[in-house]
Symmetry: C2
Subunit: 436 residues, 2 copies
């Protein structure tokens, strides 16, 4: 990973902030400036931090940043990683320092956070129709001529509202929009090419708006039948490229390039390949991938999906998990049951429960890997139920540490205001912040 603090004043303010006792994972007994975390000589395995604690392995982050940069370069694609995953200014900064074209975000508030911490180009991967969203984002654009924002539209009513607001705002540059193509039964986006073209025409006809490209999200096509999923992804991407041609034939794109954006964390290889082949357009097509989970990967849902992606690419291992949550054993009430001090407030549970990876008794030699017989089988708000294999009761006692991988980074990051950066030996070297 490139050094984190390449950002501006606001990022250094995060380093200077005084963290108070009570910040999860730190076990502070007095306030501490954040930049001092790295010189405390804390080691998670020594029990120096608080528990539960969320950890980012810097070696894995570095690997994933470099891997994705190479992937994009090889495919001639640009990356606007979905920042909603981490909402961490320091991680945005690392992504931009590693070649990202911009940051994708989901809400107006998220865009405000990114802008505050120095992000200069944002793709708002959402319809910009809500009055309060329009208000704060037009303010940001008026306030700072160097800040670039691209947003989505999928309805004539939405375009009408936005055109009206832009006209009233006095914004001196056109607002670039991408038409969202959707999938029947899924989320937002026009359901047919006809609808999408109608929206594109409305944008092109509105004085303050500019048709900048076409957007879609294929990542919702995850079922138990991957072969069928991949076919539907392919059909959807073809629909997007056909829409680009059609809008281009009508002369609706007036910017310097045409943005063509798709790509969650599951099928971005398919997207890069399909979009790389778009030709014969009036102006260059920029393929913008938006994976958010590539940065940390995980030990569950996205791990499995990226292993499939590796297989499609020929087998070499690509992204590796970077995010772990460690907690302590609070109770051993039954021979095969341990209660951990980690719960729904600390680790994601929406796409699978955490996976127990390691156990460790502070003071003993390095951590011991756990096999699949050790299983988190349930979580309450503040507790996890770890099932031990039969006959292993004496391997774990109260006060021991358990390291878990997680499934779904997005819903883990949002449970932590501070995550610790660690080396492979669990030495703590620093921290990053999140803003949810």
């Amino acid at each position: 990973m490139t050094q984190l603090p390449t950002g501006g004043l606001a990022l250094s303010q995060l380093d200077e902030q005084l963290l108070q006792p009570g910040v999860k994972g730190l076990a502070l007994t007095a306030p501490l400036r954040q930049h001092m975390i790295g010189v405390q000589r804390w080691n998670v395995l020594a029990g120096d931090t608080g528990f539960p604690v969320a950890l980012l392995k810097t070696s894995a982050l570095r690997h994933n940043l470099a891997w994705m940069r190479t992937f994009c370069e090889r495919h001639g694609a640009l990356l606007a990683p979905h920042g909603k995953t981490t909402m961490s200014p320091q991680l945005f900064d690392a992504q931009l320092a590693n070649g990202a074209w911009g940051i994708t975000l989901a809400t107006a508030a998220q865009v405000q956070v990114a802008a505050r911490f120095g992000v200069r180009r944002v793709l708002l991967a959402n319809e910009l129709v809500a009055a309060s969203d329009i208000r704060v984002l037009l303010h940001l654009l008026r306030d700072d001529p160097t800040f670039e924002l691209f947003a989505l539209a999928d309805s004539l009513e939405g375009v009408r509202r936005l055109a009206q607001a832009v006209a009233a705002s006095g914004l001196r540059r056109p607002l670039p929009l991408l038409v969202e193509l959707g999938l029947t039964g899924k989320r937002a986006g026009c359901r047919t090419a006809e609808e999408a073209v109608a929206v594109a025409r409305a944008i092109a006809a509105a004085p303050g708006l500019q048709l900048a490209g076409i957007e879609g999200y294929e990542g919702l096509l995850v079922s138990n039948d991957r072969a069928a999923d991949l076919e539907r992804v392919e059909t959807f991407l073809q629909g997007m490229t056909a829409l680009v041609s059609r809008c281009d034939d009508e002369g609706l794109f007036t910017g310097p390039q045409i943005l063509l954006s798709a790509g969650g964390s599951s099928y971005f290889d398919q997207v890069a390949q399909r979009f790389g082949g778009v030709a014969d357009t009036s102006r260059p097509v920029l393929t913008i991938l938006r994976s958010g989970c590539y940065l940390t990967n995980d030990h569950g849902h996205y791990f499995d999906l990226t292993r499939e992606l590796d297989e499609r690419a020929g087998g070499a291992v690509g992204l590796v998990p970077a995010l772990e949550v460690w907690s302590t054993v609070l109770s051993r009430p039954e021979p095969t049951l341990a209660i951990l001090g980690m719960g729904k407030r600390d680790a994601s549970f929406d796409l699978g429960l955490p996976r127990a990876l390691l156990r460790h008794r502070p003071g003993s030699d390095g951590p011991v890997a756990l096999d699949d017989g050790w299983r988190i089988e349930k979580m309450n708000d503040q507790h996890a139920y770890l099932r031990l294999p039969e006959g292993e009761a004496d391997q774990l006692c109260v006060g021991d540490l358990v390291g878990c991988g997680i499934s779904h980074p997005c819903t883990t990051f949002d449970k932590w205001s501070v995550l610790l950066l660690v080396e492979d030996d669990y030495r703590v070297t620093g921290a990053v912040n999140t803003f949810f």
Copy 2:
């Protein structure tokens, strides 16, 4: 509700804090001191706030605070509401101002937050065995002789670790502990009376520790057969009172009172009744209830459970829902489908999805109530899928507001750093903070 700012310096610091653009639900275009929120004349229905936004109806909070106070007084019970639900210093303060004996918390970090904002008496409803937890909490106790902490124990090993740490710490007063009685197959706590008595004896024998009482959590006994649940709750509570008698007969309690604590948000009426009948002890028994969700109730899981509680009590309506999450319609891609700008990052989804209550078009007359045909059927990280009844397609368009009730306050509060206080007409009068 008694006025919120009865706390000390730290609470007023929250009022003075400068909120930055990007705080969810505020739609700020410039920094704003928190106490200025109440004089902005914002109304949620006018679209003045950001969306999504989390709202607390002050009339409902006031009602619930008063209702619970009366309930406890009538039953001779004390209340140490579970603070993990809200983790809001201003709400802790309101609870204490309305007669709460103390605040219950789940983790050492939560105790630190509460102490920082002026809470003087905490019941840590968890085993205190992790080295880092012991370290920070003993520091707090040494640092401030007026701060009172009660914690749990359920194992001889845990008592041994704690006794050792207390002896080494130089703490000048005994650390009061409650033995946790558990339920086979459930969470922490001794599985048998024999085990519990053994732990109680170990505590009584340890120089720096004091046996202060008995604790249990009956709230895990929620199945589809409520009659069976209630029987199991009753049996469990009887086990707890029997344990009190047994420990008392052995002379293990040495404090001024015996604390007897149970009571989540589902069966606290049963607990109050059962514990109110404990007699013939060497010293007074204090019944400590710990409901966390009474304060806001909800529109789902806890609403249903408290309606049952009302029926057991004779039918008068007790607690009422105080917490709503409002969002905007971002897309209307299909006649019966609306996509809302609210997702798993904004509202709980672990004990049921949010319930659509109201729709509103800013500028129109008051909000329109939605019947059960309007249903949130799914959420992604940042989106909700609202299904409309057939034939109502023209009732909702992009930019409209939808107000939702939630199911499970704990996992909604933890998604917001600022929640807005509103009157019944959705005028915004102030804000509270959370520390997760």
